[in-house]
Amino acid sequence: MITANNLVKTYGKHREILAVNNVSFSVKKGEIFGLIGPDGSGKTSIFRILTTLLLPESGSATVEGFDVIKDYKQIRNTVGYMPGKFSLYQDLSVEENLNFFATVFETTVQKNYDLIKDIYVQLEPFKKRRAGKLSGGMKQKLALCCALIHKPTVLFLDEPTTGVDPVSRKEFWEMLKRLQAQGITILVSTPYMDEASLCDRIALIQTGKILSIDKPANISSSFPDRIFAVKAKPMSGLLKALSKFPDAVTSYAFGEYAHLVIKKEQPDFENNLKKYLENEGLENVVIKQIQASIEDCFIKLLK
């Protein structure tokens, strides 16, 4: 369980950089809660406040009922933290890192092996290798093992999948689901919008401010406008034509489609749009109405 109430953190000589701007949210026991936002949106500062590594300027926060300022020692024993930057000992081997973190928390790898077994078996062939010599995906797995070795009840994962390929990202999320099934509460941050739907609830965050908090499905379904996926040849012509389409609120590229957002219900809209695009010289026009993705919602909130 995590609660954050009106957290504020500024940086700079004159406190001119507002990194965390009045942030409040709570995470229920056993929930996977995602902080979704780009670099520089304040995600890491929030993580560091909640893991007692940074003092908030104002506001309060608790983790498992412990206050982040007064009870920092209890919190440090209760939580596992995987920072965004790889922070294990590069000169120690896989095995040595794991033993080191177990010892710091006055436990042993054997005692808590159950929790990390799934992940550790993939690392085992490399257990004598120095951490600094591991590949990105392996470092990520080792960092997760080290964060779990003292059986934390809350796990803080700051951008665990940044720079990781789509297949490894998928595997990583499967690991998180298995940890959740064992009752662990997880706060995770990511710049990948497609990972949002894998969380129970998410907060969309930008420049230190939370824009929206809800279940991913609710955020999608509360998108206020109508949204269409459009495909045509050539794609560059399509984007230009859509940007000057009279009824467009906005339009932008979205993978193989372009997304067009319009305000209100219009009779026969798809046919009219098709005619307009064909008049603009586009071919093979395909139009379908779709539900907004989290990325669409984020773009809407940014505008």
């Binding site: 949106s41 993939q122 590949s135 940044t162 720079g163 390929d165 789509p166 590229a253």
Partner: protein, 246 residues
């Protein structure tokens, strides 16, 4: 016949017993946006280091912008631009100072640097930020600037290594507008990304698995070939079969 600006034939790099890049053969055409995809550890970085003249191949041949990757690495470096998420701009210099620095490195005259830097600042609407330190700019801006610096000397090819990692969805799209503009000017764009929607924006893409190029075609043809709806699924089908655990 399209003009090939990158040409490789069985290009290979070994580190001891480990074959990081295993006989890759492909061509990239002038003005093309070429997506270079692959799982972590598939050999992308090693391949890119050979193509940018930073690492000598073990065997095979390759030419980049018409120059040989074994013997003419200095010519290659003069004719390409490079940008990665990690290394881009000097944060303790202002925007204009970065232009001056990189322009100087590439041997442009003071007058050329001045003209280009004025045009860029106007084009990117950066008049207010021109004299600010780069460290004080938002990440999205830094990335656009880093790209402008990478093509400041009008290279034939620009290599972009995960250029959009971590930026917000709007900035990501604005960045791709810059890529399109560069490609329309005839600059070849060689780009790696982990965002599969961005794979769709490339003219052609290759996917590396275990040191080899497992597939190479337009996104549309790849989806047909694998009988799937999205590039995500193409990637998943190929990379899932990877034996090399990084």
């Amino acid at each position: 016949m399209q003009e090939a600006v990158i040409k490789t034939d069985k290009l290979t790099k070994r580190f001891g017993d480990f074959i990081a890049v295993n006989e890759i053969t492909f061509e990239v055409y002038k003005g093309e946006i070429f997506g270079f995809l692959g799982a972590n550890g598939a050999g992308k970085t090693t391949a890119m280091r050979m193509l940018t003249g930073l690492s000598a191949p073990t065997s095979g041949t390759a030419s980049v912008a018409g120059f040989d990757v074994y013997k003419q690495t200095e010519n290659i470096k003069k004719n390409i631009g490079y940008m990665s998420q990690k290394f881009s701009l000097y944060e303790d210099l202002t925007v204009v100072e970065n232009f001056e620095f990189y322009g100087g490195i590439y041997g442009l005259s003071k007058k050329q640097i001045k003209n280009k830097s004025d045009a860029l600042i106007e084009g990117l609407k950066l008049q207010k930020e021109a004299k600010k330190l780069v460290i004080d700019l938002p990440l999205g801006w830094k990335q656009k600037l880093a790209f402008s610096v990478a093509i400041f000397h009008d290279p034939k090819i620009v290599f972009l290594d995960e250029p959009t990692g971590g930026v917000d969805p709007l900035a990501r799209r604005q960045f791709w507008d810059l890529i399109y503009t560069a490609s329309e000017k005839g600059i070849t764009v060689f780009v790696t990304t982990h965002y599969m929607d961005e794979a769709e924006y490339c003219n052609r893409i290759s996917i590396m698995v275990d040191g080899k190029i497992a597939a190479l075609d337009s996104p549309e043809n790849l989806k047909k070939q694998f009988n799937v709806q999205s590039m995500d699924e193409v990637f998943y089908q190929l990379a899932r079969g990877a034996k090399r655990s990084e």
